[in-house]
Assembly symmetry: C2
Homo-oligomer: 279 residues x 2
């Protein structure tokens, strides 16, 4: 089933939406794939419409085609469509309503349990399991896979949003979707068709000069760039009726006080209880 492609914006238009006046000059390499990537928006409102048959398989094939450290494939994904389960997961994630609205909710799992089962069947202890490095590899594997699934979904006219708030209570997530020891829901993802209320603009990002460093890290000029970005994000927020207006205030609200972690300050003991060593 060939699916028509999203509208292709020019480099100049795409870069202006993503960076405002700080956009780098257009004129470099450009094609419809890059246009698709730049058009990403996180969507928090969905129509109930079901996904076409075969959509999950296409997203998973894209996800599995991402790189994975040493081909260990230390990730899994739980596809949740059951309304009762979605409601339970929404409750973990501070009652985000879009988790219940979307037709498909994905729980992306950092999963070393499969490798552990392999070791057990072969009669071997895998010494590398109880290390921070192993957890990190599994989380990165899951992230690379999830991002490919996002790109595939958006190419089909679907929208997505990552749900980090599953980490507010990872053990409850594990209970809801039946994860074994060594499997951790690192984030969720809504997939579906954006509702009229859910459709949003492309969100501006920090200027490239802040994020890219040539040969050596160099934060010169960062303060000035931040002030300009604050102004850009303030007008974006005003257009969308959002409360927190500048990037500076956003960072302070999110990182200033431990309460903002919503329970994620207990992540180390949670991970240890869930079968991950963090040596």
């Amino acid at each position: 089933m060939d699916v028509s492609l999203p509208a292709v914006l020019s480099a100049a238009d795409s870069l202006a939406l993503r960076y405002g006046p700080a956009a780098p000059p257009a004129g470099g390499p450009w094609n419809e794939h890059i246009s698709l990537l730049l058009s990403h928006r996180s969507v928090r409102g969905y129509r109930p419409d079901a996904l076409p048959s075969g959509t999950l398989e296409a997203l998973v094939a894209a996800a599995q085609s991402a790189a994975t450290s040493s081909n260990l494939q230390t990730w899994s994904v739980i596809a949740v469509t059951d309304p009762a389960k979605k409601a339970e997961l929404a409750k973990v994630a501070a009652n985000q309503r879009h988790i219940e609205q979307c037709p498909l909710f994905l729980v992306w799992v950092a999963d070393i349990s499969r490798n552990q089962r392999l070791g057990a069947e072969e009669g071997l202890t895998l010494e590398v399991i109880p290390y921070q490095e192993t957890f990190l590899v599994a989380a990165i594997d899951a992230a690379l896979a999830a991002q490919n699934a996002t790109v595939a979904a958006e190419s089909l006219g679907l929208s997505c949003v990552y749900i980090g708030a599953l980490r507010n209570n990872p053990r409850e997530v594990a209970r809801i979707v039946g994860l074994p020891s060594g499997a951790f829901g690192v984030f969720g993802m809504c997939v579906g068709y954006a509702s009229a209320a859910g459709a949003t603009e492309v969100k501006p990002r920090l200027p490239q000069d802040v994020v890219v460093h040539h040969e050596t890290y160099d934060a010169t000029g960062e303060s000035g760039h931040r002030k300009a970005y604050d102004a850009l994000l303030q007008s974006f927020s005003a257009r969308h009726g959002m409360a927190i207006d500048t990037w500076t205030r956003r960072v302070i609200n999110r990182m200033g006080k431990i309460a903002a972690l919503s329970g994620r300050d207990k992540l180390v003991s949670t991970l240890n209880a869930m079968g991950f060593g963090l040596k």
Copy 2:
């Protein structure tokens, strides 16, 4: 500059290359974006040819368009083209020659130093900084960004490979590219044109049934799928003159003994020394 697109394979051909006989049926949604994602190969041999002007900016725009937790943008990227620096980085990464060969080497950085500088300039302590959750967010942000850059690069006919071995000695990486406290090179990435020797086949992955779970995690049938995948990967390895033949042996070689971590068993103390708390 509009760049011609890579060849578009059909769903049936793409899925057969990625899964062998265990491929899910074609017939679901399909387009040239998904075809591109499924065609990914990690490439470990590069021609010296320079990249077209504007390539880095296009890759970074794609990277910055990926989702980022609460828009915190806790990542940076160091673009390394200096042969002396690439040689130093290759030495950290077990002398992988492709790091010296490729015209552009990217060091993807989990970066909370920018947010720390913001806090310092605003006269505030960001209480959330010294937590495992914050490091995890930064590593995931970097991974989502890097994967978008990979997709953009491959859409331009370039090839990439992730280099996790930068984590064999993160403090040496930090010295080479001048990272401040709170900035950690989570992985590297070669970018360039595949040489004849570097060109490879699509590597088969585990069957979808092993990785995807519906509503609830279910490892039934996993053993049988693993045996079939072992055989598939064995014939892939034989075609490529690779030593380790089955997936089972690959996992055991990589996860069985601590020595295989090549120093990454010290990651916790390294991260603490580099300005990350892991409470």
